[in-house]
Every structure is written in structure tokens, then in C-alpha cells.
Amino acid sequence: MSIALYRTASLPRPLIFGGAILAASLLLAIFPSVFAPYDPNAFDYAALLQGPSTAHLMGTDNFGRDVLSRVIHAYTIDMQIAVFATVFPFLIGTVIGALVGYVGGISETIFGRIVDAVITFPFLVLVIAIVSILGPGLLNMYIAVGVVGWVFYARIIAAEVKVQKRLDYADAGRAMGYTHMRIIFRHLLPNAITPAVVYWMTDMALAILLGSSLGYLGLGAQPPAAEWGVQIADGKNFMATAWWISVFPGLAIVLTGLGFSLTGDGLAEVLRTKK
């Protein structure tokens, strides 16, 4: 009990660290020009492929663009990808999962088959296939991820709602004469949503990876946009001689991913139902 009190009184450490990283990332994403020393797309033929120095902290690429400025400006796109590629799957999956978990029966069977069909394909392959059909670009990427990604959230929520609906408080709601919608969304969902929120945080980290992968493959953000995946792709021909072009965007991905994962961990702790 004293441990539980202590933990609720002060925020868990992962949440503090993760939250700090995300807050900084958001700041960079919203005001990139304030922090970036150079224009991310300005060519400087006098300074091609220069290593990290005081003038260019992360060096320059093959067009003389400042890598640091490009990494900072990429926050705008990559944080956007993290949010938009996951928020719709999260919302749609939550609603469908809650309904399926509550209603059960035939809806659950149908849902189970859809899940099977989707998870049969590797996620990335499926997304790449859909993006190839729709055409490259960020919007189409959001659509592709949304079409596939809701399934994972729905599965988590459905399983959790199924457990919660058997508890007496759900029966108490029914005995009170509450509507099914009220029981599902006001009573069961708040008790079922924690694992989905935690997964959402992890998923945002994965979405950045996915966005970068698609950027790297030329299916996501299009050059010359500053995006970490695009940057890594730009640097791949110079890996042996100018490692900084690819490595620094890579580190940015790692750091942001870490921020999301730590936040997820911390949220799991804070949102845990007290018994």
C-alpha cells in the first residue's frame, strides 16, 4: 500500500524521461526554424561532405546541406507521421474492439477471421503493397497504415473488454437499466483501454520507423523534404566516407523511439487500475 501511494504521489521515472524527450521533440517539430542554424534545403557547394565541426555540428551532405538543420526540420514530418499514422488506427480500433468484445458471438468470429487475414501478411509488406497501389506520399501512407493498423488495437481492446464485461460492475450497470452504449464506453472502456494506450506509444515509435523505411524506399516523404528515412537513404552511398549523413538521422529515430517507449512504460504504471 505504501509502495502504491509512493508511486502515485510521484510520477514514475520512465514517464519523466520519456515525457521530457517527447516534449523536446514536439518543440523542435513545431518551431524547427528557431533551433535550426541553417536552411535545411540550402545548397552550399563550398562545404560539401564536411565532417562534424563547430560550423556544422553534424557535418554536411553531398549538396552541402547542414545535417543538423535537416535532422531538426525532419522532426516536423516525423512527429506528424508518429501521430497521424497511429491516431486513426487507435480510435477506429478502440471503437470496433470495444463493440466486438462486448457483443461477442458471431461478430467475434467475423472479427477473428479479419484479424487472421491481416496478420497473415507481414505488416510492412502489406503497407508497401497498399502504398504502391495508392501512390507514394504521406497521405497515402496514413491511409495504408490506417487500413491495416486498427486491427491490432481492436484485438487488444476486444480481449480486455471481454474480461471486463464479465465483472459484476458491468452487470450492475445492466441491472441499473443503463444502455449498452453507456456500459461499453463509460464503464468498460476506461478499464480496458490502458494496454491499448501503452501499445499506442510503442506504435508511434514503430510508425516513425515505418515512415523512415518508406521514406528510404521512396514511398513515403519525397525528396528533398527533410525526413530521417530520406536522409538515411541520401547518405547510403557515402557511408564509408561520410557516415554522419546517415548516422545522425538514425540517432534521432532511436532517441524519439526511446521517448515514446519510456512514456508508454510510465503510462502503464500510472494508468494501472488500483484494486
Binding site: L167, A172, A175, G177, N191, K275
Partner: protein, 334 residues
């Protein structure tokens, strides 16, 4: 007392067991747990009817069928003359308001993410019991009624003890001003000292608010203490029902006598080693033919294996379902 509010006739409820593809191919008959086998009784306004029986005898199923948490397979429950199963929409909500249930497990029956205030406000506003401005005052009143301190309102269920939670459950039920309370094992999850508090609270509320109570429990002494009438259930059937004192003093069914004999006696000189019912409760999947109690009854004879006895009058308001009708009150098993 004679005003019947609920009458139940021929209630049957069974829960099918999983019947998979392989079972179907191999030609197995689908199995079901027979939770209620032809239960009939009436509930009179203002009375407390105690329902007792061993675990798995269908007590909770009966309670849940009464508030329509389960739908019946057969039989009808009439509430003030209306068939409960026919209610839908607003009429059903009105029925739910007037017939409330209190649950057994104080730990799972309250939503862990809602404060007491939210729980009570929801009940009050959904049923439009009070205009919004009067809700805080009504919540204070309800907390008073169940003897919880006023500062409980803004706390979460996990901050309360089992007994306090059970009182929150009672407050929630009372918020909608019901006429009938179905209490399913209200105190069996609580410490003995707390049981008394909660039970006495219930008795007090019953008098003050003129409630009709269906009290489901397995504790005989508790049921005897609070009930006007008692019904004894065995394998989903009422085997004896009657006024509390008549039933305890002159039980007319061997199962009731077995239950009474099995209740632990505090006075060591009165302890008995006599076995009143042999063996275990038969499986409710395959209930015995004839009398349901025939596998364990010390008095069973031919007829008990062939014909299931129905409830018949033994004295005023006292019925038992047994082929033997001459149980001598003095021939107590103790």
C-alpha cells in the same frame, strides 16, 4: 403482507456447455448445466424472503433471472401482474429501477475508475431521479443513509474496505428508490464483524424505506435472523418454503434437515456426528431422475427414484417437495 409483488412460475434456466466441432462429429449430445429446474414462488410486499442452499444450487442464477441479467429458458416472472420478459425500452428501464440488485463481490461490483460521487450521480441522472442541482444534496443524503462519511463521495472504490464498498453498492441501489432489493450473497465476502453491520443496515433500511428484499445466502443463521420466509433450494429447485420459524423448527424436507444438522453448533455438548446427507452434490449437468435429492437422502425409497415430488402444503404457508409427509419435529437430526 399478502400483497404479491413478484410471482415466479416454472422458472427454468440452463447454460449450454461448449459443444465443439469434434463433439458434433462424434455425435455427442450437447450438454448443459441445469441451473434452475422448475422454480416457483411468490414475493410479498414488505417481506424478506431468504433463499438458502449449497454452492451451485442455482441461488445466484435465480437472483440474476429476477433482475433480467439472465433470460429465462422457460417460465414467467410477473411483477405487479406484468410479465417481466415482455418489457423493453422505457418500461424495462422502469422495471430495472424498481427492482434493484446488490452484488456478492464488493471488489468487482464497483467500477474502479469511478468515484462514489460519479457512480451515484450516474444512477440519479440516468433515471432522472432528481434535477441536476439537487444531486449533490441527494448524494449526501444517500451516504448518510448507508452510514458512510461525507468525504467518501470523492474517493475511489479501492480506498474503501469490503464492508464500506458493500454499503456503496447499497447506496447505488437505493439511489434509484427501488421497491425490491435482490441481495445476492450480500455479506458472504465480508468479515463476520462487518457482516452484522451491513445486515443490520439492510434491516434498518428495509423498515425505513418499506423495501421488499430477496436475500440470497448460504448462511442459515443469517437467513433465519433476517427473513420472514425462507426458501431452501437444491439443484435448481425449491425443495421447501415457509415461514422462517416453522421451517427451522419443523422442517419438512430431508435436505433442509440435513442443512440444519450440518450447521456448526457452538455448544460442544450439542454437537452431533450424525450424517444427515451422504455423498456429494450430484452434477447439475446430469440431475438425478425422480427426486433430485434421492442420491443423498437417508429416507429415499422406490417412489423417490421414479417420480419427482412437487411442492405440497404442509401447514399454513409452508410447503415441501417430498414424498414423505410425516416428519416429526421432535425427531430432529440433532
Amino acid at each position: 403482507m399478502s400483497d404479491v409483488v413478484i410471482s415466479a412460475a416454472g422458472l427454468r434456466k440452463s447454460f449450454p456447455l461448449p459443444h465443439g466441432l469434434i463433439d458434433r462429429i462424434s455425435g455427442k449430445v450437447p450438454l448443459a448445466v441445469h441451473a434452475l429446474n422448475d422454480v416457483s414462488f411468490t414475493l410479498h410486499r414488505g417481506e424478506t424472503l431468504g433463499i438458502v442452499g449449497e454452492s451451485g444450487c442455482g441461488k445466484s442464477t435465480l437472483a440474476r433471472c429476477l433482475v433480467r441479467l439472465h433470460e429465462l429458458d422457460q417460465g414467467e416472472i410477473h411483477f405487479e401482474g406484468t410479465d417481466v420478459a415482455s418489457l423493453s425500452g422505457p418500461a424495462r428501464r422502469a422495471f430495472n429501477r424498481r427492482v434493484q440488485m446488490i452484488f456478492q463481490d464488493p471488489y468487482s461490483s464497483l467500477n474502479p475508475r469511478m468515484t462514489v460521487r460519479v457512480i451515484l450521480t450516474e444512477a440519479l441522472s440516468v433515471h432522472a431521479m432528481r434535477p441536476a442541482v439537487e444531486i449533490p444534496a441527494r448524494i449526501a443524503e444517500l451516504l448518510d443513509l448507508v452510514r458512510l462519511p461525507q468525504d467518501s463521495a470523492d474517493r475511489y472504490p479501492h480506498e474503501f474496505s469490503g464492508g464500506q464498498r458493500q454499503r456503496i453498492g447499497i447506496a447505488r441501489a437505493l439511489a434509484v428508490e427501488p421497491e425490491i432489493l435482490v441481495a445476492d450473497e450480500l455479506v458472504s465476502a465480508l468479515d463476520v464483524s462487518v457482516q452484522a453491520q451491513v445486515v443490520n443496515l439492510l434491516l434498518d433500511l428495509q423498515q425505513r424505506l418499506d423495501l421488499t428484499v430477496l436475500f440470497v445466502a448460504h448462511d442459515l443463521r443469517l437467513v433465519r435472523h433476517i427473513s420472514h420466509r425462507v426458501a431452501v433450494m437444491y439443484l435448481g429447485k425449491i425443495v421447501e418454503i415457509g415461514p422462517t420459524e416453522a421451517l427451522f423448527a419443523a422442517s419438512q424436507h430431508p435436505y433442509t434437515r440435513a442443512l440444519l444438522a450440518a450447521a456448526p453448533e457452538l455448544d460442544p455438548s450439542k454437537r452431533s456426528r450424525k450424517i444427515a446427507a451422504k455423498g456429494e452434490l450430484p452434477s447439475p449437468i446430469h440431475p438425478p431422475k425422480g427426486c433430485l435429492f434421492n442420491t443423498r437422502c437417508p429416507h429415499a425409497f422406490d417412489r423417490c427414484y421414479a417420480e419427482r415430488p412437487q411442492l405440497t402444503d404442509r401447514s399454513v404457508g409452508h410447503q415441501a417437495a417430498c414424498h414423505l409427509t410425516n416428519f416429526d419435529p421432535k425427531d430432529s437430526l440433532k
